[in-house]
């Protein structure tokens, strides 16, 4: 993407715009608040994001929760229309530029999110989905990520519908990286918000309680591996389906060949010319059914996401363990090793 931009020069209309998502302090706090509130009830939160488009970035300035429980599309539309009208009356940006969702361990790459995101991006091309991870955040690391469907997959779905075929996946070279693209996020405060934060620091200073040098790993690893297993199982069953599908196609193909051969044999016996290509096509007007690929591509992307999460988590766990080791007891050994290393440095010829 970057290379194309470099070649074409900045500001091309056909370029996928808004390469960065900018949040203000209010949105960050609103998303956290709305997701945390529902988390205490054991539910996942979802909501709308409002904002505006700038040349290079997507600015998100307001977030509000969607309706809870079972609602019809009509109800949800009415609610968001009404909300947007009221926001405009308050002078707040009321263009819906995406949505947010809470999901733990990055397990959001599924059918539902894919279809919803497609709908948002069809309406406003720049729309993003913000994924908030309440578990990681409560461990001390704000985990908020922005994703958007890649342009290749958007084209395919526009052409083939949500059950896109294997052929188009192959042609567009869709892979786990190009399905959902992560868009970098930055948070920008206004001067006024900075003033407010300074006031808050005076009246309610941060307790500096850092829970995140926590050494326990098994809990999170266990959950991650569980999710990974689930994903791989799903992938396997999808693969099995695909194999069955291919077998069926093979059978169909051999059936057709047999039928054509029989007809040809009859014609030969009567002394008529053989079936032409067109005649054969007329006999079987319908092409072979294609197996839907959407699920398998999504699952693959999800598994890849889990793997990345595990990678990140493992890396930081290992470094934390290293640190703990250095602090505990190992100090003596390492200082002894250090002293001997210095000795060698000082007297290299011995």
């Amino acid at each position: 993407m970057a290379t194309r931009r470099d070649l074409d020069g900045p500001g091309r209309a056909d370029e996928s715009p808004a390469q960065i998502v900018q949040l203000n302090a209010l949105v960050v706090m609103q998303i956290i608040k709305q997701c945390e509130e529902l988390r205490s009830l054991g539910e996942h939160a979802e909501g709308y994001l409002c904002g505006l488009l700038e040349a290079e970035r997507l600015e998100i300035t307001y977030a509000y929760p969607s309706l809870r429980g079972e609602t019809t599309d009509q109800e949800a539309d009415d609610y968001s229309d009404e909300m947007n009208r009221r926001l405009r009356q308050q002078g707040i940006d009321n263009m819906v530029v995406g949505w947010y969702k809470s999901a733990v361990f990055g397990s959001f790459l599924n059918r539902e999110v894919f279809e919803a995101q497609y709908a948002y991006q069809s309406a406003v091309e720049e729309s993003v989905v913000l994924i908030y991870d309440p578990v990681r955040t409560s461990q001390g690391l704000l985990t908020l990520k922005a994703y958007r469907l890649g342009p290749e997959i958007m084209n395919i779905v526009k052409k083939d519908g949500l059950e896109f075929s294997m052929e188009s996946v192959r042609q567009a070279k869709i892979n786990v990286e190009t399905l959902f693209q992560e868009i970098p996020i930055r948070i920008k405060n206004s001067h006024f918000v900075n003033a407010m934060l300074s006031e808050l620091e005076v009246i309610a200073p941060s307790p500096n309680k850092r829970p995140f040098l926590d050494l326990s790993t098994s809990n999170i690893l266990e959950k991650n591996v569980g999710l990974l297993l689930e994903g791989v199982d799903h992938l396997l069953s999808e693969n099995a389906k695909l194999t069955n599908h291919q077998k069926r196609i093979q059978r169909l193909q051999s059936d057709r060949i047999r039928i054509v051969q029989r007809k040809n044999a009859q014609r030969q016996a009567k002394g008529e010319p053989l079936l032409t290509e067109d005649e054969i096509n007329q006999m079987f007007p319908r092409p072979f059914p294609d197996s839907p690929r959407a699920d398998i591509v999504l699952t693959a992307a999800q598994v890849s996401q889990y793997c990345d999460k595990i990678g990140q988590f493992s890396a930081q766990s290992l470094s934390k363990m290293q640190m703990a080791e250095a602090l505990q007891g190992k100090l003596k050994d390492s200082s002894a090793a250090f002293v001997s290393a210095i000795h060698k440095e000082v007297q290299p010829n011995q």
Partner: protein, 304 residues
């Protein structure tokens, strides 16, 4: 704009437990600041609804929304206009999405309480007799931004209203906005978010990006290092008799030492090694899965 000129006083409700403490969540303050930044030109102040919940004599404020309004303030005699339709509608919308929140009060962005505040308060009293009034001083006339909360309390001797239909008669008894303490309340996750946002204050462009896992470990390690340095610096100074020992700090240091679990070196090593092996194994598995995926993709792309 459908504006209702406020001139009808609602029925005064019976007294219940009056709030004694306000627990204010940062998201509400951020909302008030945002509303103030979006004010109309030359607006006297911004007012709006506060949503949250009552818990005994504690009010928890978790949400807010501005209400369009006009008032002259001070000199000119522009009447107060409050867009009650927007206020009412926002309250209903908010209740549909988060039913646990009710109206708990209203806010204003000026430090003082002008006379018009009584009328606005009167509008909100319909929702709950115990609502509070929050002022966030956004005028920047001082170098602080005081946040204060008030409850409406009657005082003085009640007087028989001459005309029961007269709106102003309600105030004949004499009443005042009594200040109650405000406390900033944060859930753990909110604190994490707030801390991150606060770091943007030190950035010349007021920008901060979201840190990764590795950044976090580095930051914490640096912080830990700094804290240890501070403690060590103090201890060394005391040992050298440069500064007198403070028994309170001494006790705090003893507490810290006491918290450190005493683990046998061998057992510790065993523990760390075991969990390291776990991590490495899972890492290996996940890399294996990734390799498998990459392979599958390549096979898929191959022309059949």
């Amino acid at each position: 704009m459908a504006t209702t000129k406020i001139n009808s006083a609602p029925q005064a409700s019976a007294h219940a437990v009056s709030p004694m403490l306000v627990r204010l969540h940062p998201v509400a303050i951020a909302g008030i600041c945002d509303a103030y930044e979006r004010r109309k030109e030359k607006a006297f102040r911004v007012v709006g609804t506060l949503m949250g919940k009552f818990d005994g004599d504690v009010v928890e404020i978790t949400n807010c929304s501005a209400v369009p309004h006009e008032e002259g303030g001070g000199q000119n005699q522009m009447p107060l206009r409050l867009d009650t339709e927007v206020a009412q509608s926002m309250i209903e919308l908010s209740k549909r999405a988060s039913p646990q929140e009710t109206v708990v009060g209203w806010f204003s962005t000026r430090p003082n309480i002008p006379e018009t505040s009584f009328y606005i308060h009167d509008f909100y009293v319909r929702y709950n007799p115990n609502i509070i009034h929050l002022t966030v001083d956004c005028t920047a006339e001082t170098d602080r931004m005081p946040i204060k909360a008030y409850v409406w309390s009657a005082s003085g001797v009640p007087q028989e209203p001459k005309d029961p239909k007269d709106a102003a008669a309600r105030f004949d008894q004499g009443a005042l906005f009594a200040q109650i303490p405000v406390e900033i309340a944060c859930w753990d996750a909110e604190r994490v978010g707030l801390d991150l946002i606060s770091t943007a204050r030190k950035d010349p462009h007021r920008v901060v990006s979201i840190p990764t896992d590795a950044d976090q470990v580095l930051q914490t390690a640096t912080l830990l290092d700094e804290m240890l340095d501070t403690a060590l610096g103090y201890i060394n100074k005391v040992l050298k008799d440069e500064i007198p020992a403070d028994p309170e700090i001494g006790r705090a240091l003893m507490d810290v030492i006491g918290v450190i679990p005493k683990i046998d070196e061998e057992a510790f090593e065993k523990m760390v090694n075991a969990s390291r092996k776990d991590v490495l194994m899972v890492m290996y598995l996940s890399e294996l899965a990734k390799a498998q995926l990459a392979l599958q993709e390549k096979v898929n792309i191959l022309p059949s």
